[in-house]
Each structure stands twice: as structure tokens, then as C-alpha cells.
Subunit: 474 residues, 3 copies
Amino acid sequence: MVNWFRFKFGITALVVQLFFILMFAWLVEYEHDYGNVEAPINGNHTSETGRLYPPFQDVHVMIYIGFGFLMTFLSRYGYTAVGINFFLASIAVQWAILVRGFTKYEVFKGDKYDAVAKELISLDFAAATVLISFGAVLGKTTPLQLLVMTLIEIVVAQINQLICTRFFSASDIGESMYIHAFGAYFGLAVSRVLYDKRVKDATKAKPVYHSDHFSMIGTIFLWLYWPSFNGGAASDDEQQRAYINTYLSLAACTVVTFALCAIYDENGKFKMEYIQNSTLAGGVAVGTTANMPLHPFGALIMGSVAAIISVTGYRFGSAFLADKLRIHDTCGVHNLHGMPALLAAIAGAVLAAMGSTEKWGQSYHQIFPHTAPISEGGKGWTNIQQGGYQMAALALTLGIAIFTGIITGFMMKLPIFDQDQIKDADDMFEDSVFWVLHEEEHLPMKHGGEQNGDKHKEMELRQRTTVGEHGIHL
Amino acid sequence: MVNWFRFKFGITALVVQLFFILMFAWLVEYEHDYGNVEAPINGNHTSETGRLYPPFQDVHVMIYIGFGFLMTFLSRYGYTAVGINFFLASIAVQWAILVRGFTKYEVFKGDKYDAVAKELISLDFAAATVLISFGAVLGKTTPLQLLVMTLIEIVVAQINQLICTRFFSASDIGESMYIHAFGAYFGLAVSRVLYDKRVKDATKAKPVYHSDHFSMIGTIFLWLYWPSFNGGAASDDEQQRAYINTYLSLAACTVVTFALCAIYDENGKFKMEYIQNSTLAGGVAVGTTANMPLHPFGALIMGSVAAIISVTGYRFGSAFLADKLRIHDTCGVHNLHGMPALLAAIAGAVLAAMGSTEKWGQSYHQIFPHTAPISEGGKGWTNIQQGGYQMAALALTLGIAIFTGIITGFMMKLPIFDQDQIKDADDMFEDSVFWVLHEEEHLPMKHGGEQNGDKHKEMELRQRTTVGEHGIHL
Amino acid sequence: MVNWFRFKFGITALVVQLFFILMFAWLVEYEHDYGNVEAPINGNHTSETGRLYPPFQDVHVMIYIGFGFLMTFLSRYGYTAVGINFFLASIAVQWAILVRGFTKYEVFKGDKYDAVAKELISLDFAAATVLISFGAVLGKTTPLQLLVMTLIEIVVAQINQLICTRFFSASDIGESMYIHAFGAYFGLAVSRVLYDKRVKDATKAKPVYHSDHFSMIGTIFLWLYWPSFNGGAASDDEQQRAYINTYLSLAACTVVTFALCAIYDENGKFKMEYIQNSTLAGGVAVGTTANMPLHPFGALIMGSVAAIISVTGYRFGSAFLADKLRIHDTCGVHNLHGMPALLAAIAGAVLAAMGSTEKWGQSYHQIFPHTAPISEGGKGWTNIQQGGYQMAALALTLGIAIFTGIITGFMMKLPIFDQDQIKDADDMFEDSVFWVLHEEEHLPMKHGGEQNGDKHKEMELRQRTTVGEHGIHL
């Protein structure tokens, strides 16, 4: 009743934004000093900006439309899905600039961090990590909790990536380890800590007919632009391979997802939930190996196996996690991001261990720079060593993700972050807890004047339940 | 009751995917051998991949978002529209790689087929052919039938295109003949063979308010990216003309569609069905001539005429086809793709016959290589000959499309492909035949325990009918 | 009852299109004469077309998907929002080619106007101006009125821009003055003249749950591609700065919008209306300065201030405009486009006045060519002069927009343009006035056979009211 929350979230967000402004003023600058424009000012000149911008925009669509709409599948949670996704990503990209500046040590060298166009895709990648975790806790958390999660996760995910790339020289072009595995297991760890058994009674954790249509907008844009996610930051032959491998893996994954979906259902029917998610597992599964000579048929195999893992996870794994391990995974991020990312990482390690300059040509040293001879700037690692370091990167990623996820979960549970706004199962997966819904304006206010019991209750019921039930018939 | 279907579709799809994997292992490889990376590894270097990738992604959006959502206009068939579109396209692109490899004879030369980035747009083109045919039979076919149709149509469409380009040297930059005419008349032939008079009683062949909104997402993305469809594979001046001609044709087509829509309606109102489809006819209508010097005003005329043909087709033609010729055309592909493609092809022939190097400069030989002198690698065809071959290409395309469409229709009718899953008019245009709908979970199972007649019937009715009726008020 | 309207709109639109065709035949041609193809026909060559096309397509999505879907938030006006947006934009881009040809004097020099690929983005910009004005009068105007508005506004907006750029040399890379300020104040002036007090009783001026989801599709695509809007026409360092500044401004704006939204609401809840619109104000606010060295932190400040202005406008300003000034602003274009554009223009003037070649390097003369010495082709303006001319451009823009908007409003009021089609408050924001809605087909015709009073009235009521009320529970 007291409007404490009214100010708490808003003021916190304003303070964060003010902090970003001050830090940017101190630390961040454009790449080129505008006093020294050396690039030719020529209409036909293709700048690096021009080259990197189209795939960046594809990834940008994935983050805000893709993740945002994919999560609108719930009957009464579309505003939060697409809206809070929007908010968190906007926090994440700003924070990622600062954190990346620090983790790259540029700041400590006295330089300002270059806010260059080629970095933009990396900022969206950083945001993706958080949004995957968001999928695990969707419907069970407050905006304030999610803001806290975002601020922490960006830092630990970037540190993890820094260690894995700097010390293990682990190649992960589509960042299946650093984004998908990290985001999924961090989110699952948070979800485990926040577990509330009342989620079993949450009747709104279901789609309706039209909400599944909105969700498919997200799915398909993610699917379409995934080659840009895995290949947008690569170049030349590596880029061509990344595009083709991802494209093929996704196509195969989609076919196998439909096939298994029908096989698993007792009436041979398709389930939208599986289609919306498992079709994307092929993009995750080739994330580490996309730029490697996986061969086209190898990409098809990766996508097919990813589909098998992912659909099977949705069919059997999610219930197991929820019932036995008390990890409620709203969007099934374990099936879409977690397990396929493990597949990706293992495939990367195996390819690294089996590859060589004889087989791959120059690509081998380009992809794994530490395998180059010391005379050529590498460290002379053997292929087996490189494979081992790839596995070490996976192990470290899982360890850091789960450990910091648990700690973050406990922090998010602190009463100050408003978990108690979600009072009962009926408040779970329910937009009206955080949003002014227009239908409310036409119905008696819940806490409003009129108090004649039955009618009030009936109307409140209508607002709360019929709305949902109603939607069901859509 | 028996779950035969459960395994049939799924296992068939898995077998197809396995076949693809084996064939890819045998036949398909990346363009560049990774042992011979010769391209400069240079951040500012613009690779062919980089140049072709943005328009490819535009076309990619057209295939999966465009076609998929355009077909969601039916009140109860959105899952199938966007979902099966997704499945079929994913089959089609993989199959098209193999078929294109064969039709280009590359395989017979002992080479592997190059899965190069510049091929990706052609794979989406191949998928488009199938998805146009899908529009004609939408709501009246099973996924298994559509899978069969996809596998056959890709082969015959690619053979048709091979003959027309190899022997007739017929220019068709946006493939209005090879994709739009072929897909439309093939689909109409299939629809004729599959004709079931109960379709007249199918009450669900109607949109509701929100389903038409989803459909407009498809329309507008198709409309926006159509210049990429017609010009993405062209270069330099031809590309610029293709972009501008398509852009202008679409704009004029949209204006005339709205105008005619109001004129044809007795109350001067617009009809969403016409707007969703006929606005796109301008893209089809310049498909053959987009890269030619059609002049900007010529592009406006093409678009305007396309709109007249298309809206008139929706207003009068579709009923004629259905009632007199017993061809039920769910999405009106004859009006959107068929007739405008005839216009495109005829315009192409006329321009070829009227053009010359005097009028077009080098472009004439570039666009019609066989008109170049034999000394320059051409065949010395006259402009009249080239015009004739353009018409021959159209005639062959129509002949092959209709003939193979009829045969495919009869194959699809074989009981093994499950046409009888669609038991009555109420199963037409009804997602619940193939999809698990969430509302079912909240209602007594159709074949479930409780059998007390009246209530069961009432609830089933509610599930089947009220849902639809309900949606109507949206 | 008489079908006068049936022919009026349609014939008018046809006449306009025919006029366009004739004018194009007279005045418009491709950039390169096809007889003189000099550009290398080389796969790896990057043409200007190729460089400009991807950001153009981003802007294209903004115009047709962005503006179109953003305006679908109303419960019963989605067809008009996305459909008439589609129609008007298609008129606008064709008309803009002609008008731009005239305003650039190219025609008077005897040349044809070049319909070049690099112009395409400018045509979409011209359309945006009209669509912003459309947002102010949405739901209260007829298609014919809007057609008239489009034809007039394109002309006056282009003349305004011509004067400001030609004589004041006012820099406005993202055209915050020429598009956003002009479109908003022109639209508000029209809305003032058309003011009808019955709008207060228009119960349909409200969203429902799903319509707000459709609207978010528009919001997010606008948000994502806004960097292309502000930077697509720039190059090199200016382009990089434009992309980064816009990106950062939007991110900050989004965070502050969510924060203020919660602070302003008595229960600390978010309001979709604010989120859908104010998050975009950051794109408008950096429109004039995007290519200038605003510094990354400066971009964050611009976005934050824009959010404060915009959300405050929605919270307090709109009611003031409607109640006190009798300006009903359906989409709140004053808050999204008007005020943030003022901020943008003032910031541009301040930066111009404070900048110098010492501080900005070459960029200063490139951005403000008249400040270059006369010996270098400039006019030798001082920075203070340039700042003054920036302000003059804003003043002129506001003056012309408001003055011509008022005149246009009175023209639109002429009975011939069918304002009286909107008979009462129930016809406002109601698609069925202009569109055939499918539910009507299932209900007794309003003017149809059956006339037994009560039932007819009940059904009509159901059609009119229940439909709306029904939707409310979605």
C-alpha cells in the first residue's frame, strides 16, 4: 500500500544511469580522435564500420526482438517479457562497455576505452548472456532483482571470458561457452536459490494461442540472424564457414526438432514450446566450431544432435530439474542454451585436438594462435594441449557460472530487492504486478472504494482469473 | 486412435535428414579449400561474402517471416502457417543444395559442390517456390503430404530453371518465371487434384481481427525486402536498377491496390485480404525486368498494372477458380504470384525483343549473353530471337509446372500420406489436427476418460467451435 | 448510404498515381545512363549502392514496420494504423522523388532527376515527416484527408529543408528539425484545427493487451534501426560517431524512461504507452548532433534528458494540450518527436557555436561547410554565426510547420474530404468505418435485411460495443 517501491526501482535505475554517465565521461571515447581524420572521405570506400554494421544490426535484432518476443509465450507476461528484456539489455550494453574497458586493461594503460563500431556486436553479446539467465527466472522475479542480476552477471561473465581467452586461448567464435553455457548455468543457479514451491500452482505459466504467435516472431528472427551471431565478428574464409555452418546446422536442427516433436507426442502432434526453442539449439551447438572446417555435413550432424538433446530435454529434462532438483526453468534455457552449449564446447575441444596445419592450412594457427610456433608469435602448443585448454575453458566457465549464480541468487533474495512483491502463485507470470494494464481501468479497482463483498470478489476474480481463462480460448 | 501417424511423419523426416547428411558428406564442400587461404586477411577488405550477405539476409527474412506470417491470416491456422512454413523451408534449402549441385553437373565433373555464401540466396529462392505452392493448398493438406510435395517440387523447379537458363538463355533476375509462375501453377495443379468439395463448408477459412495483424507482419517484410529479392544477386548498375525498379513498382502497386480495393467494395471500404496480398504483386511483376532499363516510369506502370490484375483476381477470379474449375486457392497465389508473373515474363520478352546495344549499351549483352556476337562468346542471337526464347521459357515453365503439379497431386493423394487425417470440413484450416493446443489441456480430452454424453459433446463443441466463434469477436 | 465515397477515394488515388507516372516519364531517370556502364563489373567491388543499401533497408523497416506497428496500440484501429501508414508512405516516397527533383533545381537545369539508390533513404525520410503528423491525428481523420495532408506536407517540408540547408547551411544529419520537429508541429497544428470535442467521449482511444504487443514490434524496430536513421547517410568517422551516439543515447533513454515511468505512477508500475514511445526520444534528441563529437557521455546525457522530457510530456503535457489548448495528440507525437527535436536542435546550435577546427579537426568544416574559409569553398562563417543559423533553421522550421499545418487543417476540413464519415465518438479510432471486418460477415448486416428491432439492435451493439469490451479482457 505504501509507495516505497514506486521510488525504489526508479531511483535505483536513475542512480545506475548517472553512474554510467560519470564513468563514461572519465573512461570512454570514440576510436578515432576527431582531430585526426585520416581515413579517406570517399563515397566508395568501405570502412570497417560499414563492413561490420550489417551483421551487428542482425545481432541487435536478435537481442531486442529475438529474446524479447521469444519470451512472450506466456499468457499474461508479454509486457514484462518484451519490456523488461528491453530495459535489462539497455543496462547491459552500457555496463558492458565499461566492464570490457576494464577487463581489457586498456583503462589501466591510461588509455580511454574505444567505443568503436566493431565493439557494438560484443556489447550485444554481453547482453545476451544476461537475457539467457532472465529466461530461467522469467515470471518469478522483480525488475529490481533483475537489475541486480544484470549488473553482477556482466562483470563475472566478462572476467570469465577474459581468463579463458587470455590464458587458455580458447576459441569460441559464437561464444557458446562464454554466452550460452555461462548464461544458462548462471540463470539455473539463480533459479535454484530462488526456488519457491508455489510455482507448481502457478496456473499462468502457460501460453495461449496468440501469445505463441508473438513468441514465434522472436524464434524466427533469432533463427534467421544466428549466422550473423556466430560469424559477424569473423572475416574472410572463417566468416564464410561460420555463416554456412550455422545456416546448415539450424536447418537440420529444425527438421529433426519437428520429427522428434511428433515422435514424442502420444498423438504425433507438434508442440509449439519445442518448436519455438529447440529449432534454435543448432545455432548454439555450432557456436564454438562455426569458423572451423567442420565440413557441411558436420554442421548438419551438429544441428541434428542438438535437436535430439534439446527436444529430449524439453520432453523429459525440465520436469526432472523442477521436481527433483527444484530448479524451475521457465523458458527451458537448459534445453536451448545449456546442453547444446556443452555439445558445442566439447566439439570445439575435439576439433582442436584433431586438427593441425596439415589438415586445416593456415586456419589452424589463425583460430588457435597459441598453437603457432613461438617464433611466429604463438606459444607452440600442440593440438592436444589446445584441446585440453578448450575443455579447461568449459570447466572454468561452468564453475564460475554456477558459483557466482548461487551467490547472486542469495543476493537477489535479500528483502530489499522486493521478492515479496510476488505475493502468491497468482502473482507469478502476471504482468499486472508490474504494469498498469488497461483493462484495470474499466474494472473496479482492487483496493478501490466499493466494498460490497460478492460483487467485488466476482469482479476481482474476473480480472484475475477470467482474463486468463478467457485468453485461453483465443 | 492408433499412433501410427505419431511415428510415420517423424521417422520419415528423420530418414530424409539422414539422407541429407550422407549426401552432403559425399558431395558438398566449402568453396575455398581451407588449406589454401589466399584471400587477404584484412579488416578493411570487403569479401564477396560480406557484399552478398546483407541482401541474402533480407531474402531470408522474406522466406521465414514473410511467407510464414503472411499465411497466419486464418483464424485457427497460425501455428501451421508459420510452423510448417519453417519446417518445409528448412527441408527445401538443404535439398536445394544437393539438387543444384546435380543440375549444375558439377558433381559429374568429379568436383564437390561448393556450398558458398553466394549460393545461400539461391537456396532461399528454391524454398520460395515451394512456399508459394504451399499457399495454394494451405489448410487442406497434412505435413507428410507437404514434405513429399517439397521434395518433388524442388527437383522439377530446378530442372526447369536449368533448361530455361542453359538452353534458352532466358533472363529472369527476380525469377518471376522460375519461382513465382512455377510455384503458383504447380500449387494450383496440386490443389485441383486434391480438390475436396467439403471446403465450401469449411467455416474456419476466415481471418479474425488479430490474425490479420500477424499476417501484415509477413506482408510488410516481404514488401520491404523485395528489392533484395530482385536485385540481391545482381551487381553494379543492374543492381541499382533492380533495387529502384522494384521499389517503385511496389509503391505504385500499393497505391493502386488501395484505390481498387475501395472501388470494388460496395461501401468503399478496404479489405485486408487484398491489401495483404495485392500490394506485393508489384514485386512479382518486375521480377523479370528489374535489372533492365525499364525506366522509372515503366516500373510505376508495371506495379500499377500488377495491382489491377491482382485485386481483380481476388475480387472475381478466385471464386471463378473455385466454383467453375474446382481449384481452391487458399491464399490466392494465382492473384499474387501467378498472373503477375505472367505479366513479368511477357514484359521481359517484349523488352528483350525491343532492346539492343544501341539502346541499352553494354547492358544488353550482359543481361542476354547469347545475343553477343559469337566472337565475344555469345551465340549471335537477334533481339527477336531472344524475345522468342524468353516466351519459350515461360511456356516451358507453365507446362512443366502444371504437368508435374498434377502428378505430384496424385502422389500426395496416396493414402500413405495421411490425407484422411483431415476428416471433415471442421478439420480444414484447423491447427488442432496437427498441434497440441494449450486450451485443450484445460478442457476434457476429446478421447479422454469422462464420457457423459451431453457435457462431453458440449465441451468438445466449445473446443472446436466456440473457440473459433470466440476469436471472431477479436 | 450512397456509395459516393466508394468511388471518391479510389478515383482520387488512381488519379494521383497516374499523375506520378506521367511526371516520372517526363522528369525521372536512373543515375547512370545504361549506355555508359563504366563501373567495374567485379564481384569484389563494393559499389556505392552496396554500401548504402543496408542502412537504407533498416530505415525502410522503420517507416513501414516501425511507424505502422507502433500505431497499432489502439484496441480497434490496427488495420488503419498499419494499412493507411502503408498507403501514405507509398504515396509519399513517389511524391518526394518529384518534389526533391524540383527543390534541387535539377529539373530547371534541364536534367532529369536521378533516381539513384543513395536517394532512397531520403525518400523514406520524407515519408517519416508525414507519418509523424499522422500520429497526431490518428483515429480522427479519413483516408482522403490524409492523402491531401501527405501531398501538401511533402512539398512544404522539402521546401523548408531546402531553405535551411541551402541558405542557413544548417547541419541536421538525422533531420531532427526537418523531420521530427516539422512533422510533429505540422501534425499538431492540423489536429488543433480539426479538434472535435467528442473525442473526449471516444471510448476506443485505448489499447488492449494484445494490441500493445503489436505496438512493441514497431517500437523495437524503430529503436534498433535508429542508428541507421541518424548515420546511414553519413560516412567514415562521422558515420561511426552517428551510430555510436545514437546507440548510446537510446540505451540511456530507455533506462531513464523505465525509471521515470515507475516514479510517476502511484503504484510504481510501468505504463506501456510511455515505454512504447519515450524510449525512442533518445534517437530524436541526438538527431542533429549524432555525427558531431558529442563524446559518448554526452550521448548518454542527451538520451537521459530526452527521456525526462518525453515521459514528463506523456504524464502531464498531453492532458494539458488536449484540455487547455484543444490539441488532441493521439500518439503523443509532441512528447516523442516534438520536444525531443527541440532539444536536438538547440544542442546542435550550442555545439556549433562552441566548436572549432582546433577542437574538432577537419570535422568542423566538413559538418558545417560554410565555416570553411572562402578560399576553401566555404563562406568564412564564425562558429557563433553557424550556431545562430542553426537556431534560425529551427525557428523557420517551426514557423513553416505550424503555419502550413493550420492551412492544411482547414483544407482537410472541407466537406469534400469526408470528415463527416466519422459520425460520432464511436466512429473515432474504429477500423470498421473504413475496413470490412470479418466478424461483420457473421453478424446481421447493419443496413441489411432483417429489421426486427431488439435483436438487430442487440447484435449491432455486440458488433460495436461488445467487440471492444471483449477485447479489453484480452
